[in-house]
């Protein structure tokens, strides 16, 4: 019999293992899959590296002007290096580096009676903000030239809004938005606002709207969020008739996202512990990958490295393929900041994330540098052969040439985490191959690799290309 064995870990761009959302000690997966991780596998395809760290924008916390949770960030600049965000009571103005403090008018601007900002959208020369009040909701209008807010433009033009989520989308001079059980429409060319253009009925709630292929795609949850449906609505938004629909089933929808001409859907399955990212294929929803945590909503999606960035369980996740020749992956990319994550967006290319601790600490931060709060764990591999157990005697780690202070710790877990080896430190300026011949781990039934960046560097990362384990079978 073969007395030696080898195990290789590479192709880390595969992301989480297929069952990682159900079992963080799964055995099912490839050499590139993780059973549990918070790491970056998309920025440098083929390499595993540290999560991006978060750096507050200037004035971007409670010591600056961010004194509340920012709930939505406009994902498109309205001018060079300028966009807007809405919190619970205020409208913020920001650039790629700074949250505006002051100016004329003075930002952030308090919106009269607002208790919960929902979304902001640009339509031609104006910014429109949707928000809830103690009772009901409204739409603010702000000309981009003057930045003077008309806080109740919606209710003075048509009926007031429901107290509900208000996703919104724009195409040319048409703005479509969710309003509880209704879909609202504003056609600027006709100066006509109808906050209840379509009625999806009692117990329903519009949770997201996007525009794609000349139609509006409307995600609606029914039955207290127990059932989801997607409707197609004519692009002119004039008719009172829906063009088509597709049922998601007994699953509520979190958001819709259009990427490269495909409609992606985040939805949950109330019968299981996980959530799904799928896509619309014909009249059916094809589940792509699964994740754990919480169901993101329309405020918590963005584009990053050709993948969908979204929020789940207080962390930032990525789903997609950096390039189409690689498989679709799902992975936990980074920490969200404080415990409660608000809105995320990439108006200037780099993701910006809002978070709050639910008390007095709030932040608006962007990806910057590298996080040492990052790790990666492979799937477990069975290393038994009849009566024999496996003993690892050599670990080889292949990296990019490391900069000064860059590094990570490698440990091996055996017997489904019951035993752990001593740490093996990967470091050394310029080094690319790191060989460890002294592995303090007895023969085990199964084994997985754990990579921890806690001792790494925030400026110079440690990209890993391959990890190889060499061992032999020992009779027990």
């Amino acid at each position: 019999m073969d007395t030696d064995f080898n195990i290789e870990f590479s192709d880390f761009h595969n992301g989480n293992a297929p069952l990682a959302h159900l079992d963080n000690k799964t055995f099912l997966g490839t050499k590139g899959h993780s059973s549990e991780a918070k790491a970056d596998v998309i920025s440098k395809p083929g390499f595993l590296t540290q999560s991006p760290a978060l750096a507050d924008l200037t004035n971007g916390n409670q010591d600056g002007v961010v004194s509340e949770l920012i709930r939505f960030i406009l994902d498109k600049p309205t001018a060079s290096d300028t966009t807007y965000a809405i919190g619970t009571t205020k409208l913020f103005k920001l650039s790629s580096t700074t949250v505006t403090n002051g100016g004329t008018p003075s930002f952030p601007q308090t919106v009269t009676d607002m208790t919960e900002g929902e979304s902001v959208v640009r339509l031609k020369a104006n910014l429109y903000g949707f928000y809830n009040k103690a009772s009901g909701g409204d739409i603010l209008k702000m000309p981009l030239s003057t930045e003077v807010i008309d806080p109740d433009w919606g209710s003075t033009t048509d009926l007031a809004l429901e107290n509900a989520p208000h996703p919104s989308a724009v195409k040319e001079d048409i703005m479509v938005f969710g309003n509880g059980r209704y879909l609202g429409v504003y056609v600027e060319g006709l100066a006509v606002l109808d906050t209840q253009k379509l009625d999806f009925g009692e117990g329903s709630e519009v949770v997201d709207v996007v525009f794609h292929s000349n139609v509006w795609w409307i995600a609606v949850n029914f039955g207290e969020g127990k059932r989801g449906q997607i409707y197609l609505y004519d692009g002119s938004a004039i008719s009172n008739i829906l063009s088509d629909e597709a049922g998601v089933g007994d699953q509520s929808i979190g958001f819709l996202y259009v990427l490269n001409g495909i409609i992606y859907i985040a939805y949950d399955d109330k019968t299981s512990d996980g959530y799904s990212i799928g896509y619309l294929s014909g009249s059916s929803i094809k589940p792509l990958r699964y994740f754990s945590g919480s169901l993101p909503d329309f405020r918590q999606k963005a584009l990053y490295r050709n993948t969908i960035l979204f929020v789940s369980g207080g962390d930032i996740w990525s789903c997609g393929a950096s390039v189409e020749q690689l498989p679709v992956q799902i992975s936990k990319l980074a920490d969200g900041g404080h415990a409660t994550v608000g809105g995320i967006a990439s108006p200037f290319g780099v993701p910006i994330i809002a978070s709050s601790d639910g008390s007095s600490n709030h932040r608006l931060a962007k990806f910057s540098g590298y996080s040492t709060n990052s790790n990666w764990k492979s799937v477990f591999i069975d290393v038994t052969d009849k009566r024999y157990l496996g003993k690892i005697h050599t670990v080889i780690v292949m990296t990019k040439p490391l900069e000064a202070d860059a590094g990570c710790d490698i440990t091996l877990e055996g017997n489904q985490g019951d035993v752990t080896s001593d740490s093996m430190i990967v470091t050394g300026t310029g080094a690319t191959r790191h060989v460890f011949r002294s592995v303090n781990l007895n023969a085990v039934e199964d084994i997985r690799v754990v990579i921890d960046y806690a001792s790494g560097d925030s400026t110079h990362d440690c990209p890993i290309r391959k990890v190889v384990l060499l061992g032999n079978f020992a009779e027990r």
Binding site: D4, F5, H33, S239, I241, S243, D244, V379
Partner: protein
């Protein structure tokens, strides 16, 4: 000694994203769009802007982005709304009751005609470029007030020639040489449209008194007043003077005479008043009108 490869693998290969995200061939689409053609389970449209042919749960339409605004549309009950129509051979509807609003034009490039037939396929009414022909039937025009019927024998109307007349009682006198109204000999009516009115009067009167040896012969004059204007020839009623040789001394007896007048007035719409007036030819004489034998009559030639 060979080394056993324990590198983890899946029982299937991971497809690249470009393959995994492809929609399989023959899979039903949630709507299909090809240029200006869009097809959904609930809607079909071809064209752009308002130059659209479409179909949805309302029906089918042409000429607008949506059903409600289209100049031509047919709903699911088969009701047609069209801005205009040019019909060739028109097939009768299987069940009675059709509603057409707006304008119907028959002919144009050819002589048009409309034939209305009975159940024996006999044409009873024909409308063509020469007019209306009714075969052994009636032309009836009516409203809540009256009915006019024209048949092959002529015009039958209960209200086509409204008329009225007025007369008086006792006598009325005047010594005025200016026309005075004859009390009670007045009639007022209202025309809905311009019309011709036939007016006739018969008057009885004379003049008396005065010195016949020194004053011109006495007579009363009558005239028709139409809306305040003396109209037509005056009625001349001289006195017939007799000597009553049976009385002593002999007395002069004046006997009235009669005059009549007819005319046709062309009056406009509105209210009109016809009056009789009279006067004496000389203030020395007293004109007398016997109103009980004076009649003013009119009838309207048409309703």
């Amino acid at each position: 000694m060979k080394s056993k490869d324990l590198t983890p693998k899946l029982p299937y290969s991971l497809p690249p994203a470009e393959m995994e995200l492809n929609i399989p061939i023959n899979e039903s689409q949630l709507g299909a769009r090809m240029g200006g053609l869009s097809m959904y389970s609930n809607k079909f449209k071809r064209g752009y802007g308002d130059n659209v042919f479409g179909s949805d749960e309302n029906g089918i339409w042409l000429g607008a982005a949506d059903f409600e605004d289209a100049p031509f549309r047919v709903d699911m009950a088969g009701n047609v709304i069209a801005e205009s129509a040019t019909l060739g051979d028109y097939l009768e509807k299987a069940t009675p009751g059709q509603v057409v609003s707006g304008e119907i034009i028959v002919g144009g490039s050819v002589d048009g005609k409309i034939l209305i037939k009975n159940s024996s396929d006999v044409t009873k009414v024909r409308l063509d470029q020469d007019g209306i022909t009714i075969d052994d039937g009636l032309l009836t025009i009516k409203n809540d007030l009256a009915t006019t019927i024209i048949d092959s024998g002529g015009l039958v109307s209960a209200a086509n020639f409204p008329f009225s007349s007025v007369t008086g009682s006792s006598t009325q006198t005047t010594t005025s040489t200016s026309y005075q109204d004859i009390t009670g000999l007045s009639v007022t009516f209202t025309l809905e449209r311009p019309q011709q009115v036939f007016v006739s009067y018969v008057v009885r009167g004379y003049a008396s008194g005065g010195d016949l040896s020194t004053t011109a012969f006495p007579y009363a004059l009558f005239v028709l007043d139409v809306d305040g204007v003396n109209t037509g020839a005056e009625g001349f009623c001289p006195a017939q003077i007799r000597q009553d040789s049976f009385s002593s001394p002999a007395t002069t007896i004046y006997i009235s005479s009669e005059a009549n007048f007819q005319t046709i007035l062309a009056l406009g719409s509105g209210s009109h008043t016809l009056k009789m007036k009279f006067k004496t030819n000389n203030g020395a004489y007293t004109a007398v009108c016997d109103r009980s034998r004076t009649i003013l009559t009119y009838f309207r030639m048409g309703a």
